[in-house]
Symmetry: D2
Subunit: 432 residues, 4 copies
């Protein structure tokens, strides 16, 4: 329904890569996507577990459709599409491109089969590499960068959608057998205070950014404090033990309605096991590890937890204010852990830890346009802002996000009841 | 929701086949089932297009589960099940057997994969053939007969469910490429009159029958007339052209509610093509053939058509009264046509034609227990009667039914809004 | 939705009342209706508690609309309707009359107010009495008889709809303060056996009947036994105590789905009070009286109870076979009890008791057309048969039915999940 | 569902009225409420037209319940409640007070009747006036002020809920017969530009404010321009004529989903009349007046109109920035017009006109807590912030709002699909 992912659009690109660098980048991203499907069978890749999720096969095809439609179809004279029917079949939500196959029916498509979709990818790759051999018009260059960032978003969705599918299988299949966790010494939660200030937010560097990060603009932030790390599985289990899911006073009104209607009693994928909890991961069913960041929370659960803890969610500006002072590093897709990791060593004194990677952090900020926001022209930008209603911003990336995809200004967004992403929570509070 | 198919249960079996004959019968039925999957890929077999339909893979496994659970598990000491998890996973609706995987979630099961299900079938087949080498207790014999009839029912469902799945694919895949129709001279509709009588209905011969055909009992039938053949595609197109789907006075109240709510404008699978109609078949999209029996009608549409035509639906007793005077022959699964065929030659004078095969014929009779009906004991018979509410009886078999499966007393049943079976209509009227 | 009550239509009227007798009859029926509203305020009469129920004010107006539309409008030249807008506003479901106000929105009509509806009734009454002063054409005579029987049906609905409304008010208002029950000696349940026979069913006398009772026709009934009285509140409480609402094997499949979806744990209006049960009546909340016939059962609950008791529901033919040998007498609306009464004296030897009155008795028979059934012509008869799908027949009338309204051949009908009528159950079983 | 109105909570009260002044204020507010019910019958006051709206009788009782529960019950020793059952029956959503009658079932309460509710009001008024005769503790004083502001909110809801109810009546009743509009010379739309600035928002004066207006805090506003007046009925009709409701590119994604699902083709209450439009008002059905501010828009429609017009919605900070420079005056409830009025005279040069009154103006701002927001203690404040999710802020009051109720800092809020308030739109755009 919602889950209308993939905030896309073009930023002004001042510092383009060379053709050769772009071709290498292209090859890397495309290979990474295909590597994610290696543990999966064609049957695994064909199924759709809910309207918000898509079959892996559809993801594999749709990201290729993006290059075919917006790059090859526009910039290669006489380009012959692999199959003209794919223009509709693999369109996600671009009305400007024409009709589209209904999202909840992506799981009824046994044909084209998996092998055909792989052939489709190869067809597009060949045409793209032919394109790289020629001088690229700047518009094409920008669209290719956009397409690669788009494909990285779908890499994350492949993992979260497969996880959701496997969780619905009573056999609880394992996507990846190596369990990444080692026992660690827990880190107590601490607070870092920050002064008020009128500063600039949004993207202002020379590289790629989505248009929802633009324009850079000034905003005022009041004094605040931010927690030294995300809330952990163990802390969240205390919230549950304290009646967290049975006390309406801890919840937003819509959140409580959701708890009652869906009979939520714990985060997504948790199953009670006597007095303990188990959870489903890409490595199968496991006991929860108390020291890892909790994930698969909705905005509602993150908010209720914060209220219970005497704190609140940060705004996206507070988060960005802190994050842009840090180097981008952490437990991303690149580590192969595919699960949040505990904060191992003694915590750096300089500021909050685990801002990047591990879990997306819900903020209190509605996903809204920045002052002066302008959607891009044409079908690519047609819907840049159309999802700016009823969703909240998440920041920092997760263990399923490619590291190169993330920036301090990066804005992810989901409706407040969405739980199938690796979404967690970091506490904030007023200060000063 | 409903679509709770497979009216099963044991009749008194007076004339059992020998072990050898039963083994041959078993082999034939099992092979026929697998042959139906030959044109399909593992991906085709994994998908579920609506809650009423099941993935082909599920059908292939469930019919094997039936033998494993009710025959091997009961009558083979120390039988080791192929996979204990299958007891739940492939249970359809037998509460007496224990839990079951929810019907609408059969399409979330990418694992076990297709190859494993085929191995499961082989495992069961081997154990069954070992059983045939020994003297069989009568109870086992009866359950095997029941299991074979059960599997034949699922043969038909494999075809109707694949047809439904393929129809939802915008590529409109073809299951079988050979188009069976040749042009014929149309047969005008005639009427055959029958006298009133108090006669016996239900099964009374020595072979197999489902328990819903029992006991044989007397009922009175008033004078009536029955049409010489089913209503054709061409005749039904006239009903549409005459505003049939826009005139509430032609419909039952619940039928009209359904027409409005689902925006029905034609039978399932029909698509308008200018002034003409096309329809989806197991051979792909084709122009409707005016002279073939119309199919994919709901009870509501059959009833509305009959009212428009100044006639009515027959009762199941009227139908049986006529059918049992006829030899069982017609366009069944065995012909390979997989589509209703026109009435070719000059019509036999003896009585109505095409009573058997081509299309299931809706009757006006609610699916209700016969006087003296007794459900069988145990889990096999646990639910014999539990579907006797809110459904209507269809008679005669269709082009997707194995011929050996059908009798004059055979009662199929579906809710009045079901359309994905090969269901049609033959008119009746009062007489005398 | 359903609850499309009021099975109407015209039977051949051979023995009409005289004008004077008809006028007296008219006056009596109209006064009885208004008397039912005496304990109610205008606010009570304006509300609608569910789509199946209507505001009392709507009932008061609709039955007048019937006379205005089908009698005065047709047979009085120049008749001026009270308010032309009422033609739509108070039409129930006659498409032949034109548009109608949607059923679920009858509770949004604060205007016309109650006083205006009473004035509307007086307007119609005056015009009707003017009509009675002249010779009546036979068609008008028949329509007036139909209208009076129609109004009697709505008398019962006024009571059941008010009961439903009051039950949703946490203050649990009392419609009538006098509690009708006195303690009695319970009567053990006995069985009466009946022989098989081919006999005539349906209405064949000279008076009024609805067209669904026609034509009289022959049917064969196998040997059966019928219980000496309806199931009581006390017996039904035993069913509950024995886990009746938690055992799927006792229920039809659709019935069990309904139990689960609506979380049924007892009949409508029952509330647990420690180990005992209380129920809402038109006399307020009371302890259940163990010896009174249980009511507010759905077909599903009646059927499950019968299965639990090792019996079954009777067919409507079995019921009629017995009932037509009895005099029509019992606890009808006329007694003023407004609640089922216990079987007081020693039971008559001649046959089953309480066949008439107290509670409508669910039968196993789908509401279907009799052989040779013909709907009446015109808008009055437009929908005679349109409700003949998805409903089951109830027989015998209840404590809310006017006694003069009932016959041995009278067929009431409701969907299998309807519970807000005074509907109960009498057991049957096979015999011979 | 939502419509959870009445943003309440206590601000620090520095400048209380004297007891005598408060008593006079109390009397005035209570009388105004009752005056609104004068044109209505008890039946009008008993009905509920949708879950978001409440019966007038419920409003009349609930605002009294507020004083009884939070003032009399807390501050008058031995206070005897009028009816203890009302504690549950007329609780809106305060879990801290205990159970509550379900919102969608407020229309099933014919008893207590209207007269009893009026007696309830008198009972509470007497007790309150006894309280005013004694020295008031400051906490009581603050709660009474809160209760009066709360009652003013329900005055507006009485009007919008009656309007919704009457609109569902095919007779289209008239609440107030006097039509307030006179023909005027239209004012062309102009723009007023404003400079960027870091300034203070929220309430900082000495009087009453709701806690959602607190604390006063600094925020930065970029340069912007604001339209000289709200969008008019005539301008909105041009949007419709230009295909506004058929062009997905003009809508937010959720907005377009809503347009499709609810088949919106115009604002609430509009009906097409050939090429023109009519609309329902508290004065009955009328032709739209092209020069009056358009109302009964959802946030989605306001946003789509702005996009079509090449503009955008203002943020709530932009609106407040301009409004606090203006005197509070306009077409409020006090004028008795009960409908938006056209901008009559030549427009003041000083700034945008009609900022106050006529229509609530949708802003682009999600209803979120201000930095440093703290909910009040106890049940009164229990839910101050619980509605801060999924709603958008509206500013300025409407023709149904009491003038004394409004401030520049006042924040109203509704979900983006709500249309039954007098909600309109003023355009904004970036500048500088």
């Amino acid at each position: 329904m919602s889950a209308a992912k993939s905030n896309r659009g073009t930023a002004p690109h001042r510092a383009h890569e060379s053709n050769a660098a772009l071709a290498t980048h292209f090859r890397q991203v495309r290979r990474t996507t295909e590597a994610l499907a290696v543990p999966l069978s064609p049957e695994d890749c064909a199924l759709q577990s809910m309207p918000d999720a898509s079959p892996v096969k559809w993801h594999l095809a749709h990201v290729s459709w993006f290059f075919e439609t917006f790059v090859l179809g526009e910039h290669v004279p006489g380009y012959a599409p692999f199959d003209p029917a794919f223009r509709i079949l693999f369109n996600s939500y671009y009305n400007g491109v024409g009709d589209k196959h209904p999202r909840p029916q992506r799981g009824f498509i046994s044909r084209p089969d998996f092998a055909t979709v792989i052939a489709y990818r190869a067809h597009v790759d060949r045409a793209m590499h032919a394109l790289f051999a020629e001088p690229l018009p700047p518009a094409a260059h920008a669209l290719i960068e956009l397409g690669l960032n788009h494909e990285q978003q779908h890499q994350e969705l492949i993992l979260t959608d497969v996880k959701h599918l496997f969780a619905r299988n009573p056999g609880k299949p394992i996507y990846h057998g190596r369990w990444p966790l080692a026992s660690v010494q827990p880190q107590p939660l601490a607070w870092h205070a920050f002064e008020a200030g009128l500063t600039t937010f949004g993207y202002a560097d020379g590289g790629f950014a989505f248009d929802n990060e633009l324009p850079a603009h000034r905003a005022f932030v009041a004094p605040f404090a931010l927690a030294s790390r995300p809330v952990t599985h163990g802390e969240f289990a205390e919230f549950i033990a304290d009646g967290g899911y049975r006390r309406p006073e801890l919840w937003l009104s819509l959140g409580w309605d959701t708890v009652v209607a869906r009979q939520w009693q714990a985060p997504l994928y948790w199953e009670r096991d006597g007095d303990a909890w188990r959870t489903f991961t890409l490595h199968g069913m496991v006991d929860i590890d108390a020291h890892t960041p909790v994930c698969h929370l909705s905005f509602f659960e993150a908010d209720a937890y914060a209220r219970w803890a005497g704190a609140r969610l940060p705004t996206e500006f507070e988060w960005e204010f802190v994050a842009r002072q840090q180097t981008i590093a952490g437990n991303f897709l690149d580590t192969g852990a595919l699960h949040p990791l505990p904060l191992a060593g003694p915590q750096a004194l300089a500021g909050p830890a685990q801002m990047y990677g591990d879990v997306w952090e819900w903020t209190r900020s509605e996903y809204a346009p920045y002052p002066g926001y302008r959607p891009a022209a044409g079908a690519v930008g047609e819907y840049n802002g159309k999802f700016m209603c009823g969703q909240y911003v998440l920041r920092g990336g997760s263990c399923a996000t490619p590291m190169s995809h993330i920036r301090a200004t990066y804005r992810n967004f989901f409706p407040p009841d969405a739980r199938w992403q690796f979404s967690g929570v970091r506490l904030a509070r007023d200060a000063g």
